[in-house]
Symmetry: C2
Subunit: 600 residues, 2 copies
Amino acid sequence: MSTQSVAGLQSEVNKLRHELQTLTVDNHSEIAGDTIILANYLIERLRQLGVTQMFGLPGDFNLGFLDYVEDSDAIEWVGNCNELNASYAADGYARVKEGSIGVITTTFGVGELSATNGIAGAFSEHVPILHIVGVPSTSQQKTKPMLHHTLGDGRYDAYYKASQQFTISQATLTSASSAAAEIDRVLTECVVTARPVYLMLPTDLVHERVPTKRLKTPLNCEPPENEEEVENFVLDEIVKLIDEAKQDVVILVDACSVRHGVKHEMEQLVAKTKLPVYAAPMGKTAVPETYERYGGIYVGSITKPEIKEKVESAKLILSIGALKSDFNTGNFTYHIPTNRTIELHSDHTKVQFAIYHGIGMKRLLPKLTARLENLHVTASQISVPHFTLPIPQEDDQIISHTWLWPRVGQFFKPKDVVIAETGTSSFGVLDVPMPKGSIFISQILWGSIGWTVGATLGAALAARDLGLGRTILFVGDGSLQLTVQELSVMMKTGVKPIIFVLNNSGYTIERYLHGETRKYNDITNWNWTKLLGTFGGIEGTSCQSYTVRTKDELSALLDNAEFAKADKIQLVEMIMEKNDAPRGLKVQAELSGQMNKYGS
Amino acid sequence: MSTQSVAGLQSEVNKLRHELQTLTVDNHSEIAGDTIILANYLIERLRQLGVTQMFGLPGDFNLGFLDYVEDSDAIEWVGNCNELNASYAADGYARVKEGSIGVITTTFGVGELSATNGIAGAFSEHVPILHIVGVPSTSQQKTKPMLHHTLGDGRYDAYYKASQQFTISQATLTSASSAAAEIDRVLTECVVTARPVYLMLPTDLVHERVPTKRLKTPLNCEPPENEEEVENFVLDEIVKLIDEAKQDVVILVDACSVRHGVKHEMEQLVAKTKLPVYAAPMGKTAVPETYERYGGIYVGSITKPEIKEKVESAKLILSIGALKSDFNTGNFTYHIPTNRTIELHSDHTKVQFAIYHGIGMKRLLPKLTARLENLHVTASQISVPHFTLPIPQEDDQIISHTWLWPRVGQFFKPKDVVIAETGTSSFGVLDVPMPKGSIFISQILWGSIGWTVGATLGAALAARDLGLGRTILFVGDGSLQLTVQELSVMMKTGVKPIIFVLNNSGYTIERYLHGETRKYNDITNWNWTKLLGTFGGIEGTSCQSYTVRTKDELSALLDNAEFAKADKIQLVEMIMEKNDAPRGLKVQAELSGQMNKYGS
């Protein structure tokens, strides 16, 4: 609980400082009484945060707001097919557009509740999303008529209460006078904590005018300063442990290093110290996988032996942004004792068994790097396994997992965004070294199947915005069925992902967990190559679909320059064996299944 | 609050009585110590309630339970494409299968939260659904490891807390010894209140053995007795008012008459008294629309003039099962003073301004009917308008709403189940007289677009089970996009609905509410007639798709005996004008838009 109260205090300090700044801003250049329509105030704040797209669906209660969005030059409205997909898209967008946020707008009840799973997933995996909900007017909120989209019993606060479980901060705007400050508060929380926030926007307030003045002060989204005395103590402790370990230290990077914006600080540490670096699955590509001191993926007992030995034999592990979930740790099988571990987090630091609340890594890392400036002399001597994945020689033409993943690895290019669905795909891509500047995203902790389809839309839009490379999705047939309609929105928005569909007749990860031959793990086989054409594409012109059944067919396609150019949306159905799976998944599933006591 | 506490007391009494019955059941024929596996206990209870299908998706944490479902002869597992669709299907199933319940099984977090909107809609519209969630084992619930599908912060109760907003009762099974009683409790609440309930089923308890004994006593799902003294008082009051009105009384039936199981009691009242009967939109087909004393749909100021005059000029309105939401009342424009209204509800009665808690209509209605046995002499003299909808003469070939709805009305047959999506379709079908034994379902209060697609699957399965007629869906292009993948599950399960897709290029109801020419109300046009083939059907064999562009084309299709036979799933794309809408929708949207103050 003390973590929460420290975080609460810090956030309060942050908010007050920003309020103070806002109120004392230089007023000379401004005409007193300048005002802006509330909707435009919100849009302007989003523009300041670098938001260029807004996801969601129109619905009664948000239409007034959408007028302003549609008329704005800053934000493009992406009408999604449904709200779950929209929330996944906002999530994918935020992951690729580091430092910015994802935004989804839905309507009261029916719209917002469909997004619940997507928002909860973003909470779980530290992804900043603003969820704007168009709600009945402030007077209706008081009189509580039995409007459509209500529960019929006058509980106008039920959705808000549910949202409290899955968002870090909530605001229900009740008057124009407090609206701007409330918007600033939740947006700041969203960025600083890298978690979703919830904003209720009543139909009548959308058009109200509020002072423009606050907009002159950008939101203060920097994490709070660490308390100097404590920070110095922590730095001393860390340096002492590194010395005691005689520099036999490895760095282990994980998800929160990306989500809490310390990639740059981490790169400085790594470059200056020359310490060996490994990544947990959720931290894959946080450090470039082509970096010479990078040794690959550590995932507890599932780790490849040469990597496992190196990590677990180190005298000290410096872990950055860890999220130690079951699928991110080989089912909690880190063989690293706590007394050999230092953990840096966004809002606390853990040195062996001691926890230091309020000592966040964003501020700590540069100071640590400065304190370790001579470490590289010895650290650069520590050997690091070369992270490669050669293509095995297989005599048959079956597209096996063992062959597939290294083969597509050769297809990846610098700056590609690679998205892998929970299950066979995410386990498969893990072992594949990614080129420089490429980004790997997957939902390993939350693990909601179907997520990648919406996420690919959002990621591809963000990638286009940032001038990144191709967006490449790996998704199983079972997962694609949950969210398939979003392919249509990809075509509408003109993004051009390459979508590899693993056609293996069902929910493979579940077959491994339990029920290998059960009918409930079967799915209906679709005509996968007809999807794009059905959803509004024109085969050969605006889209292209392929089926590959053999290694040679897939290789030929991957080697085809026209295909690799990705100048239209492409879908590749890959026929695979029903019961084949990547190595990591098989081990993970066995461990997980035992824990669930499925046994008979 | 007092309603809730009375209801709470009643439910407690109910539960205790059932417990008592269960424990005192005759034990002679039973081998002492007979036990059954918990999963099978639950399945057996569902069988006793007439459940034949279970909706949902497999996911880690529910796979063990699904083994028992798959092995059971009583319940068929319907694997859906996603959880929202599954919840809609359970809802549609429950609506058609009156007296039974809908059942959906999902997995912890990712699965259950995707169903939130569907469950909330069932709450809003009084539809009984059991939501079974496979959750981590009882020991994991205590130790709270960072498992996949968790929020990463140890809050294992977050989903449960959210579910409390949208279900009437919840149970988290914690031990085999209390599990059976807990299951019985939530199932009873589900049926008696006609609302969704939530059941957490840990992986380890699924296999535990519990005594079979309780199963000998069927669940007591009857509503509690009314307190005699109060009930007599209420009956006197009602009869007195009817006398004072000099028998100038009309009956107005609404949604809750169906949902709370008084169709039979209501039919007795109507048949014996010969009073004129009208229906609110949500009560359509609660009384057969071919009944000679039935006058049509009353929906406040949107009502057709001849019906409006008859209802509003009556000296007394006897309302049965009202749900007075905006879209069910012409935006709250009932021109009926409270002092001329008697309202019968499932758990209370309202006579003019007086509310009588705990006096429910299921027990009251037969007694009221008995007290009014001579009423028919005078009541049968009151004239009732004939409920018809002639096909208008239009000179062009455009499929207009004015022409479409009466035309498809001629296509309906006795016992058809007709499902209309919120918006143009539901407003359109309202004015169409339905044949005897047919069932109309729509989600008028909750109004979640896309709901009908899942609901059609569930409704069609229930209809097949009950030996009803065809299932016919009317859905707009915009709505179908939200939940389209469920067409695939229809084909998998072999149901054969006729699906009319109103292709009018977007969200028409929203254009009428606000933003007629806005891009956010546009959608991507799909190749609608390719959908069934893409989702696994074989055109001409297992499915058939059509596009109709003119009145003649549609008429020819409707007159085609082969088409009307509905022996395979059929999809009819109807090309319609972008800005056309049924009469009722236009008026409703204007009233609603004003209330939302979209203004400029």
